[in-house]
């Protein structure tokens, strides 16, 4: 057996991850054709590379099918209840910065804080007869945040993509989504609620608390962690 390292299988996140490991003398490479999801690890023995969608890495870590994995804080918090018991952060990697924020139409001059949103939600429900809709794919994180903030009379509507467009399309009144520069929000005439930062996320190396480490692999894991930590 060997230590299994799960990393994102494509895009900038994969490239940045490869660079980050390379700076620590661990060379990750994809093997085979461009479309084949297989890879290998050089510079250290006993470590196998597993290429996965970033969204699946939390689940694989929690199930103990990989020992280490690279994915965003947002995905870990959303997908793993009581995540602290299942995974442990090893290193924040300094890229893939993304904030999960609450945003409302920029034309809502009367809304700056979550308490404003709460007041607007009450009036909206009276006026329209249904709860103010917030589009997101981060249901758990957003619901927990709004409960903490004391916002009532809203409903979450699921949006798996182009979330910023839901307001103009009138399928939602507000959104909660990942943003890095705020550019897409501005282009869609939305503004961030001032105290509406739900989570600051970045690419992070996680260690599974559930994966079994065989005696033969312990040395490899320790060497790897020493080099990365």
């Amino acid at each position: 057996m060997s230590i299994k390292l799960g990393v994102p299988s494509k895009g900038r996140l994969m490239e940045k991850t490869f660079e980050w490991f390379a700076r620590r003398d661990v060379t990750l490479t994809r093997t085979g054709s461009e479309r084949e999801y297989s890879g290998e690890v050089a510079g250290i023995d006993g470590v196998a590379l597993v290429l996965l969608s970033a969204g699946e890495i939390p689940r694989e870590l929690a199930a103990g099918r990989i020992h280490l994995g690279v994915t965003g804080t947002d995905l870990i918090h959303e997908k793993l209840p009581l995540w602290e018991q299942q995974v442990k952060p090893i290193a924040e990697m300094g890229f893939g910065h993304a904030d999960l924020v609450l945003a409302v139409p920029a034309g809502w001059v009367d809304v700056d804080l979550t308490e404003d949103l709460d007041a607007v939600a009450a009036m909206f429900r009276d006026h329209h007869g249904f709860r103010l809709r917030i589009a997101t794919k981060y249901h758990r994180l957003v619901r927990d945040f709004l409960r903490e903030a004391g916002v009532a009379d809203y409903q979450l509507v699921d949006s798996q993509g182009a979330t910023e467009g839901t307001v103009a399309n009138e399928t939602a009144e507000a959104i909660a989504d990942i943003t890095s520069s705020g550019e897409t929000l501005r282009a869609n005439h939305l503004k961030i609620v001032s105290d509406g930062l739900i989570l600051a996320s970045q690419a992070t190396l996680w260690r599974s608390r559930t994966a079994q480490v065989e005696d033969a692999d312990r040395a490899a894991l320790n060497t790897l962690l020493k080099r990365l930590g």
Binding site: G107, R143, H189
Partner: protein, 356 residues
Amino acid sequence: MSEARTRAFALRDSFVDAGAQVVDPPVLQSADLLLDLYGEDIRARAYVTSDAMRGEQMLRPDFTVPVVRMHMAHGADPARYTYAGEVFRRQEDDPDRASEYLQVGYEVFDGSDPAAADAEVFSLIFQTVAPLGLRAATGDIGILMAAVEGLKTTERRKAALRRHIWRPRRFRALLDRFGGRTAIPESRAKLLAGEVGTDAPLTGLRSQSEIDARLAALVEDAAQPPISGAEMECLDALLAVRETLPFALSHLHDLSIDLPAIKVAVGRVDARAEALSARGVDIDRLEFEASYGRTLMEYYDGFVFGFYAESRPDLPPVATGGRYDALTRRLGKGVEIPAVGAVLRPDLMTLLEGAS
């Protein structure tokens, strides 16, 4: 049959002996109705499922709503119901709590003498759990609601407070704002000074006239004096009441001199104390807490109670109950049927018996 299930049916039978009729509502409940009642938070607590024909359905998170609906559709008046069966709760924060467990309930729809009905339900549960030596907690949300109604402030402020009675932290923040104890946020001050504008086009369903209406309301509110220091102190004192029932009552009577709006609600506590005594409950040892029950489900609006195992603070309450007239009003679209009820957890009763 498991021990808890055997016990559940035995408890239900004992409630039949107390005069209740057995009901057996379906497990699948319309999600729309529960969402409308409880808001988005119910999704964090209940399992949602769906099919193409009926849309979203929830595995019943409790029996109260289906029993109320059934009673409203074709119940005789007065009526007493009992049931036993599984309820389903998602547990996202505590893996040690059960996500499927048995509940046995007793619900009374009888408006003729609310104090007697309250006492009937409480004493029945009290006797049922007596061998377990539990701590009983009681309260009455109607007192706080009456106190809010009676405040010498605007209807809008009262509505905001009323809306957050079941969210104690938000309620406190609003109260402190309205009482002038905390300043308005900087962004609000700028908005009121006319210093906030935007070049962005307005998108979405919420119209300019709705924004203007809120702005007008904010301007109007800013011109209002804060809730008086005297009223604020009375509310603080009210929220802090926590003692045995006779002491709590004398405290509440003192407070009602300065807060005359709570007189009627305090009178109900008087009548209930008498009815409890008449049923043999030792009220000198019964705790009363004015803030109790505000974080239970959002439908209790009068008498509330719970039974707790003091040796096991990690366990949820073994029994909870209360009066939910407001729920029947909402489900009945304005038609209110006075109702009080309680549920027991037979699994916890068995667990605690095994431990002692």
